[in-house]
Structure formats: structure tokens, C-alpha cells
């Protein structure tokens, strides 16, 4: 017993919190990755999460069945990558090629417009109905602790996606170029990199990460047109906790948020689960305004 709480219950919550934390991290990583390469915030991230959950749902329900969810996952990611790349080409690229003066304001307006567009489109096409692709994964027991099979699969899938992302960044030439662009957008261009094409790839990868989170969580949370809202909020909470533009910050922040929500649920009340993150955020901002891994911006 710890503070009157059963240790077994506590560890169960902690494990569940960390498992969800992996998915939060995935969401935050998408935001921070697009920011670090393109120096713009994509406010419509949650709608790509939603798109991912819908595509996964359709693939599983119409064609593949719940047992082949892991086949549907890469297809979903690829679809959303392509959708993201096309939207970047049509809506976002013009702000880098034309002489747009206030680029971050343009980015804010255009991605919020995209948020509303995608969400309304989904509502029109789908109606307000909630769906679930279902899952045949059995619930497991680790020691004496019960663990939901769908949640475990989601977090393992999330870890796989994170590893794949790391390999892409560390081991490929596109990854090398992406890391370079994150450090100097001018120098990569004068070195000979086609930055506009690289931006398209970065945006596609970033939104695909959100879509993977959406697809993995489809059987755990539900699939409906506004399901991206909560995860978007959490994604941005994590960005502030971890530090904008920091990849380790997104990972640590994601796990930390999952953990804090779990502890809050055990020690205080599960009803306020979505509020604990904000307490963490405010407490952290008081101590470290740049976030855990953030750096102070230098002008010019």
C-alpha cells in the first residue's frame, strides 16, 4: 500500500499510462518534426490523426478484418503521407516560394482553415456517428496485472513507428538532409538540396506520424469526426513540456504526460484525467519556461 493505494492497482495504471504515453509521443513528434524542418506549426495535426483512424477503420471493416490490423497500418500511413504531401504542395508551398512577408501568420491561418475543412468534411461524409474497427486481441495478464490487448498492440505499434522514424533520420540520405534543414534552411539550399521537395516529405512524414497514432488508437478510443481534438491538445501540451523543436522532448514529454495522467487518476480521480497534463505543464513552465529540452531562441 502506498498512500492508501493498492500497489498492484498503481502499477497497472502506470503501465497503462506509459503505453498511452507512447502514442502521445508519436503525436507530439509529428508536430515538433514539422516545426523543426519547416519552422511552422501545423495546427491541423489532430485532423490527420482523425484521417488515420478513419482510413484504418475502413480498411479493417471493409477489406482486411480486425486480425489484419497490422497490414492496414502501413497502408494508412502511406495514404496519409500522400494526402499530406499533396496538401503541402497546394496550400503550404506557396508561402515559401511567393514573397509572403509574415510566414508564421500565413501558416497559422492556412492550417487552422485546413483543420476546419477536414473536420467538417468528415462530419458531412460520415455524420456524427462513432465507429470502432474492433479488435480480436485477447487481454493479457502480466504477472497478476490485466493488460488490454488492443492497448498493448497500439503501444508496440507506436514503438515500432518510433524506431522506423529514428532509422529514417539516422541512416538514410533523406534523413541526413532533413536533419540539416532543421539546422539551417539557407545552408542546405546553397549546398544543393531541393528544399521545397524536402518540405513536402517532412510534412508528409509529420502528418503520417499523427495518422499512425490515430490508426493504432482506433480500437481503443473511437472513430468519429472530432476525435482528433483531445489528442491535438495533448500533442501541444507535450510540445510545451518537452520544448518546441526537440525530438527527445517529444518522446520524454509524451511518456511523462501518460504517467502523470495515470498517477493523477489513481491518487486523485480518473474523472479529471485530461486536466493533470495542464497542471504538469504549468508547474514546468514556472521552473523551466523553455520546456525540458527547449533552447532559448536567439534573434537573427
Amino acid at each position: 500500500m502506498l498512500l492508501g493505494v493498492d500497489l498492484q492497482l498503481l502499477s497497472q495504471y502506470v503501465i497503462a499510462g506509459l503505453m498511452i504515453g507512447v502514442l502521445y509521443a508519436l503525436m507530439a513528434l509529428g508536430v515538433t518534426f514539422i516545426y523543426s524542418v519547416m519552422k511552422m506549426i501545423n495546427w491541423s495535426m489532430g485532423q490527420f490523426y482523425m484521417l488515420g483512424s478513419f482510413i484504418q477503420y475502413l480498411l479493417v471493416v471493409r477489406w482486411l478484418g480486425p486480425d489484419l490490423w497490422f497490414v492496414a497500418l502501413p497502408i494508412t500511413a502511406a495514404c496519409v503521407f500522400v494526402i499530406g504531401a499533396i496538401l503541402q504542395l497546394v496550400l503550404i508551398r506557396p508561402m515559401f516560394t511567393g514573397g509572403v512577408e509574415r510566414r508564421d501568420e500565413y501558416a497559422t491561418v492556412i492550417t487552422i482553415a485546413l483543420l476546419l475543412l477536414l473536420q467538417s468534411l468528415a462530419t458531412v461524409l460520415n455524420g456524427p456517428d462513432e465507429h470502432t474497427p474492433g479488435s480480436h486481441l485477447p487481454n493479457l495478464t502480466v504477472g497478476t496485472l490485466p493488460v488490454s490487448g488492443a492497448t498493448l498492440a497500439a503501444s508496440l505499434g507506436g514503438i515500432a513507428a518510433l524506431i522506423l522514424f529514428a532509422v529514417l533520420l539516422r541512416r538514410t540520405w533523406v534523413g541526413l538532409a532533413l536533419r540539416a534543414a532543421a539546422q539551417s534552411r539557407i545552408a542546405v539550399q546553397t549546398a544543393g538540396v531541393d528544399l521545397m521537395r524536402l518540405d513536402m516529405i517532412a510534412f508528409g512524414i509529420g502528418v503520417a506520424l499523427a495518422a499512425i497514432a490515430g490508426a493504432l488508437l482506433a480500437p481503443v478510443y473511437l472513430v468519429y469526426p472530432t476525435n482528433g481534438a483531445v489528442t491535438t491538445t495533448k500533442g501541444f501540451e507535450i510540445i510545451i513540456i518537452g520544448g518546441l523543436g526537440s525530438i527527445p522532448g517529444a518522446l520524454v514529454g509524451g511518456l511523462l504526460l501518460g504517467l502523470v495522467e495515470a498517477l493523477g487518476s489513481v491518487f486523485i480521480a480518473p474523472a479529471y484525467q485530461n486536466a493533470y497534463g495542464f497542471v504538469l505543464l504549468i508547474a514546468l513552465l514556472l521552473i523551466r519556461p523553455t520546456g525540458l529540452f527547449g533552447e532559448r531562441l536567439r534573434a537573427a
Binding site: 541526413l176 538532409a177 536533419r179 542546405v188 546553397t190 549546398a191
Partner: protein, 240 residues
């Protein structure tokens, strides 16, 4: 190799570059000198497409560069360094060289590694190969930046913006030697912006003097430094 015709850049009412006509022959090492604020960096920015000229034209090897974005200019063999080294600081020294190779889109990974190792050897940076670029001293950063361009097979014209500023004499000698070597063995054309007259004297048979955005004079270094107008530009009119 590189020619500008009436190149002009206006920022609002300020003329940073006015009607610059410059012609550099293939295999030449040209010096570009002038007092601070003369428009030297703006000129390099115009050449590499970092900024668009207000009017005028730029030719590289018989083709205009106007309307070309920076990366296509680089792939046509026009590369540059920056006055404040723009290295990819979180990446290793080796990665900083590899990116330059792949950016211009040619050769295999193995070629790139061999070439990078060779360059690091020549420059005496081998033991720092796997350190982050941010660990290098100012001089070493300038040196690494210079090596970047030499990674590119199709390099034809290399623009160096203050490559020797704040660099210690030993590293400076290495840089001068590398420039000489690439100029002789591969016929690479250089345009070097610098305040270091002794290095300019070692490297450049001709220099161009910019002042207040205009070409003041062009000729051998000793010729132009003896010119009364150049002395005025550097020291102010009251001195002459």
C-alpha cells in the same frame, strides 16, 4: 566563367549593389575587397540566389542564372561559404561533408566516404571526424565549411565569403594550400571576399574593389591599394 552585367540590388531606397559588371575567367582566383558595408556579401547572395537582384544579369559558364533557385545554382557548380560558418552543428564533421555530396545528387555512399576521408586527412581533421561540428573551434569550422564545396564533383566556381576571418595562421595556411591545390589540379574558379591583404596577395592575381555598392577599381592588389580613391574608401577622405 562567371560574369555579372549591370547587377543591382535595392533595399527600399538603399542601393546595396549598383550596376556591378564583373567578369572572372575560368581558373582565376579573384579577390573581392572593400570597406565594411560595401556590399560584398550582398553581391555573393545575389550570385547564389539567396537574394534576387533588382536588375541585371548573372552568367555562369555561358548560361544565365537569373530565375534559378539556390539549389539549382549549386548543382550547376556554383557553391559558396558563409561569413559566419553555417555548419549543421548537431551533425558530425563527416556528416557535414556527406550532406554536401548527396545534396548535389551524384555518386555512391562509398565514393562520398572516401572523398570525405581524403579531405579530412588533408585538412588534419581526421581525429574529429565523428565529433559534432559544434565542438570545432572557429577556425576549424571555417576550414570544414571550405572542405564542403570540395566534396562536390561538379564544383566549378567557389565563392568564399570572409573565409579567413578569425582563423589562426596554421589553419589559414592549410586553407590557402587547399585553394591553390584545387585551383591548379581541377581548374576551379574562386571569388574570395577578404580583409586579409596578405592572403589575398598570396592567392589572387587580380582584385576588385567594391565601395558603397559600386566597383571602384579592378587590377593587381598593389596597383589598387596605391590608388587614391581606394585609400579614401577605406580611410575616409580627410586622410588624403
Amino acid at each position: 566563367m562567371l560574369e555579372t552585367i549591370g547587377l543591382t540590388k535595392r533595399f527600399g531606397g538603399l542601393f546595396a549593389n549598383t550596376d556591378i559588371n564583373l567578369s572572372i575567367a575560368e581558373g582565376e582566383i579573384r579577390g573581392l575587397i572593400g570597406p565594411n558595408g560595401a556590399g560584398k556579401t550582398t553581391f555573393i547572395n545575389l550570385l547564389t540566389g539567396v537574394e534576387e537582384p533588382s536588375s541585371g544579369d548573372i552568367w555562369l559558364a555561358g548560361k544565365t542564372l537569373l530565375g534559378q533557385v539556390p539549389y539549382t545554382r549549386a548543382r550547376r557548380g556554383l557553391l559558396r561559404t558563409f561569413q559566419v560558418p553555417k555548419l549543421f552543428r548537431n551533425m558530425t564533421v563527416l556528416e557535414n561533408l556527406l550532406i554536401q555530396h548527396f545534396a548535389c545528387g551524384q555518386g555512391t555512399q562509398r565514393d562520398a566516404r572516401l572523398r570525405a576521408d581524403g579531405l579530412l586527412e588533408m585538412a588534419g581533421l581526421t581525429r574529429l571526424r565523428d565529433s559534432p561540428a559544434s565542438h570545432l573551434s572557429g577556425g576549424q569550422q571555417a576550414l570544414l565549411q571550405l572542405l564542403g564545396g570540395f566534396m562536390v564533383e561538379r564544383l566549378r566556381c567557389y565563392l568564399l565569403d570572409e573565409p579567413f576571418a578569425g582563423v589562426n595562421p596554421i589553419v589559414k595556411d592549410t586553407m590557402v594550400e587547399l585553394i591553390h591545390q584545387y585551383n591548379r589540379s581541377r581548374g576551379i574558379t574562386f571569388l574570395i571576399v577578404s580583409h586579409e591583404m596578405s592572403v589575398i596577395r598570396q592567392l589572387c592575381s587580380r582584385v576588385t574593389v567594391l565601395a558603397e555598392g559600386k566597383v571602384l577599381i579592378e587590377g593587381a592588389l598593389d596597383e589598387v591599394t596605391a590608388n587614391a580613391q581606394v585609400i579614401d574608401a577605406y580611410l575616409g577622405k580627410t586622410w588624403s
